[in-house]
């Protein structure tokens, strides 16, 4: 096949765009989900495709690499790669340029490697698919590649299976596969959203480096405007399957033309300045007191693993304390112990002066009226078979008998509190958006009038704009009801926006703690400094 695309560095590459999409319409089962999408990419350029879930950004990216789901098809428009219209190519013809001319860095490194093949086999496959046959040569090249993407002990990695690698390592392997044949265009589809912040930064840095090395263009698909701001030359903002706005990153961020872009910018916690003015609420009565908490988990082999060791902090009534850390840091375990869902293996917890570990049966039930947990995933924390009314009413039924009218009043009251329309009361969770669900979950937590809310990654699963709304709601509730929050999050930007005090956890221990301003502006420990440096958007801000 004589194919200009197989020569990505062909003469004239500078003069014509590497990728040119125009009037693209993709339909699933005949229903269009993108409309008139069009943009261009120059060779070596980084373009960020930004949007919230459902905006059509992933669909567009899939169309470019010719891997739409079986029920999807391109109904209108064209995709030109190096000037050639590829959207109508036969699958076989497309196979020949995938991996060599266009390649993909996928979203979820955990599931993107075949669990039953070794890393070596999977990376080698790229070479074999594109005509290389010499085993030894491939092996040498793969080992070099693994080393290049920053994997230690490449010989060992070559033999290992995916489950033996951490998330960050897997993403490095995937990057190695995507860049193995030095393609002209790499599509990076949310390449870091499943990773911890520090890892996220290192991976993005790696992609940047390799891009610079090979002159590869990158189409970066992301929901995170901050990431786009840090990495992209140009930004394309999508919403509801349409392009809202596009332009050079600097210009677009500095002077967004569209209202939607402005809102995205305003709502992105890492880009905007601390949004919520925190009045001095410290120094009051202590609501939560944790001293020397130890939590162990049994392991498969009958041993035990210390998830939390010697964690101490206290939270003043009416204030917000954040537990921040990466996955495995022990922050959620700590929060669950505070709510009384786990008994500590050591140390002491006092909540409103009571030790949840010492409570049994009825006392524990009564204790739970005062402290409520809000979960990360509003899809999982509401019973799919219950209407919102039943879900919110249920806690009331668990305690002293209330007249029906009184219950009704309380339900409506708390619904109004979380700014949910009363007509949603009869709906089931499946009929609600993520934001509405999380509001309902908060309503359920509030209906018993607790004094403390423990929020476990309560906004992490939400789109930025929704996230911002919920954060504002939480702030209002705290002010109006005098609530105390224990806020668990991996997202430092969000933590900075809502917390008064913060404890930074790593490996089950507190690395640093103190008032937010102090920790963020003048971190004392190396780990805290790294974490804060990894918050995306800093490059842009400055």
């Amino acid at each position: 096949m004589t194919n200009a695309l197989l020569e990505p560095r062909a003469v004239g590459a500078e003069t014509r765009p590497l990728l040119r999409i125009s009037g693209l319409e993709v339909a699933y089962d005949g229903v269009p989900v993108t409309h008139d999408v069009g943009f261009e990419m120059a060779p070596g350029e980084v373009v960020a495709l930004v949007g919230e879930s459902g905006s059509g950004k992933t669909t567009t990216a899939q169309a470019v690499i010719g891997l739409l789901p079986p029920n999807g098809e391109i109904t209108r428009g064209e995709i030109r790669l190096n000037g050639e219209e590829v959207s109508r190519w036969s699958p076989r013809r497309f196979d020949s340029i995938r991996g060599s001319v266009v390649s993909l860095i996928p979203q979820d490194p955990g599931a993107s490697l075949n669990p039953v093949l070794t890393i070596g086999a999977q990376v080698s496959e790229v070479f074999r698919l594109h005509g290389r046959r010499d085993r030894a040569g491939i092996r040498a090249e793969v080992l070099a590649l693994l080393e290049r993407v920053g994997l230690s002990q490449p010989e060992l990695r070559f033999r290992q299976y995916p489950h033996e690698l951490s998330g960050g390592m897997k993403q490095r392997v995937l990057i190695a596969m995507a860049l193995a044949l030095k393609p002209a265009l790499v599509i990076a589809d949310e390449p870091t959203s499943a990773l911890d912040v520090t890892v996220q930064k290192r991976i993005l840095d790696l992609i940047d480096e390799l891009r610079a090395e090979n002159g590869t263009a990158v189409l970066l698909v992301t929901h995170d405007l901050a990431v786009a701001a840090d990495r992209a030359d140009r930004i394309v903002v999508m919403r509801g399957g349409r392009i809202q706005e596009q332009g050079p990153a600097r210009e677009l961020l500095a002077a967004p033309k569209e209202a939607y872009t402005r809102r995205l910018l305003a709502d992105a916690p890492s880009l905007s300045a601390p949004a919520l003015a925190r009045p001095g609420r410290l120094g009051g009565e202590t609501a939560i007191e944790v001293r020397g908490l130890v939590q162990n988990f049994p392991t498969d082999r009958g041993g035990s693993f210390r998830a939390v060791s010697n964690v101490s902090f206290s939270v003043a009534r009416g204030s917000t304390h954040a537990l921040v850390g990466e996955s495995g840091s022990g922050k959620t375990t700590t929060a669950r112990a505070v709510v009384g869902l786990r008994r500590p293996d050591g140390g002491k917890i006092l909540v409103n002066g009571q030790d949840p570990a010492a409570l049994r049966g009825e006392e524990l039930r009564q204790f739970r009226r005062r402290i409520q947990l809000v979960y990360q995933n509003p899809f999982a924390s509401l019973d799919p078979r219950q209407s919102l009314r039943a879900a919110v009413e249920e806690p009331l039924l668990n305690f002293e008998p209330l007249a029906k009218a009184e219950r009704e009043r309380r339900v409506h009251e708390v619904f109004a509190r979380v700014q949910l329309a009363p007509e949603l009361l009869e709906r089931r969770p499946a009929a609600l958006s993520g934001g509405q669900r999380q509001r309902a979950a908060i309503a359920r937590a509030l209906v018993l009038k607790p004094s403390i809310l423990v929020l476990d990654e309560a906004v992490s699963a939400l789109d930025v704009t929704v996230q911002a709304q919920i954060l504002r709601l939480l702030d209002e509730l705290q002010r109006d009801l005098g609530l105390t929050y224990l806020f668990v999050s991996h997202d430092l930007a969000v933590v900075r926006a809502i917390s008064d005090t913060v404890s930074v956890l790593q490996g089950g221990e507190i690395r640093e703690s103190g008032p937010v301003a102090q920790v963020f502006e003048a971190p004392q420990t190396e780990y805290a400094r790294q974490l804060i440096a990894a918050i995306p958007g800093r490059l842009r801000r400055g």
Binding site: S100, S103, P115, E125
Partner: protein
């Protein structure tokens, strides 16, 4: 590893003991006993005294607990006792019947696996949409056919009408052809269903998408990535299929007049031939437990995720 293995073996023994005990209790609850059925119901014109003597000869006049302990002690020492219905030692009954059933079940299983693979492939990779649809619906039909009905039909058509295979040929092989087909079809159905479901599920897994992005064709992806991942979970229903095979053996051995454990078991139930039934239940339970144990132990060989050790920091 060894501790886990010992634990599993202990559990297996417990299951075997319980199965044996349940079989014994069930037999006690049945009206009459083997001696009554054979020597009174059997139209032999024996006097009540003669029947009582025969009962004493077999030790069938002892109290239940005594017989239970005797039978248990016998089994532990490898003595399965005497079949009242046929008058030969149970061990010999098993020896003559087990190989036939093992062949029947083994061949049927092999055919079922082949059939399931074929159907699953055609259902997911077949050339035309209508063909794929037809093959997707096929397992549903296969599982709806009563084995005995299929057996009767197969005999009528292929043996009696077309004369292709004999159902009473002297060698074991020719007689096995139709029964093997009859059993394998309903066994293949759930297997095919699981395979189709897995192939569908694995085909949409992110790693398949990634492999395609590397430039792999659909076929390459199917063979190298999808197949192994889709086949693995099918292993877990091996134990269930074993039970199905046994039930299939009972029915087909009856329809085709083959000898084997299945028919032996059914006849033992009918004749309340305690020693035989207990032995069959033990063998079946042993098979079930052993297969599950083997699958459990083998699974890690095929799925590196279940291999112990070497876990990197999360």
């Amino acid at each position: 590893m060894t501790r886990r293995l010992l634990e599993r073996l202990g559990q297996a023994l417990l299951v075997l003991w319980a199965a044996f005990t349940i079989a014994f209790v069930l037999l006690q609850l049945m009206p009459g006993d083997a001696v009554l059925i054979k020597f009174v119901g059997g139209d032999l014109g024996l006097s009540p005294e003669a029947v009582a003597e025969i009962r004493a000869f077999y030790g069938a006049d002892a109290p239940a607990w005594r017989r239970y302990l005797d039978a248990l002690a016998g089994v532990v020492t490898g003595d399965f006792g005497y079949s009242i219905a046929s008058g030969v030692p149970v061990a010999e009954e098993i020896r003559t019947n087990l190989p036939a059933t093992l062949w029947l079940a083994g061949l049927a299983f092999a055919l079922a696996v082949g059939l399931a693979l074929l159907v699953a492939f055609l259902a997911t990779l077949g050339p035309f949409a209508w063909l794929r649809g037809a093959f997707q619906a096929l397992p549903g039909l296969m599982v709806s056919i009563p084995v005995f009905w299929l057996g009767v039909l197969l005999i009528q058509i292929f043996s009696f009408k077309l004369g292709w295979v004999s159902v009473i040929a002297p060698g074991p092989w020719e007689r096995l052809v139709l029964p093997v087909i009859a059993i394998s079809i309903p066994i293949a159905a759930p297997l095919a269903q699981i395979l189709i479901r897995n192939l569908d599920a694995v085909s949409t897994a992110p790693f398949v998408h990634v492999a395609r992005a590397k430039g792999a064709s659909r076929r390459w992806v199917m063979l190298r990535h999808v197949l192994r991942n889709a086949l693995l979970p099918a292993l877990t229903i091996a134990g269930v299929l074993f039970g199905e095979l046994l039930a299939g053996a009972v029915v087909t051995e009856t329809v085709f007049g083959l000898n084997g454990i299945g028919r032996l078991a059914e006849q033992a139930v009918r004749a309340q031939d305690a020693a035989v039934l207990q032995a069959v239940v033990l063998i079946a339970a042993f098979g079930f437990v052993a297969i599950n144990l083997i699958v459990d132990l083998l699974y890690p060989l095929f799925d590196p995720r279940l291999r112990r050790g070497g876990r990197a920091p999360a």
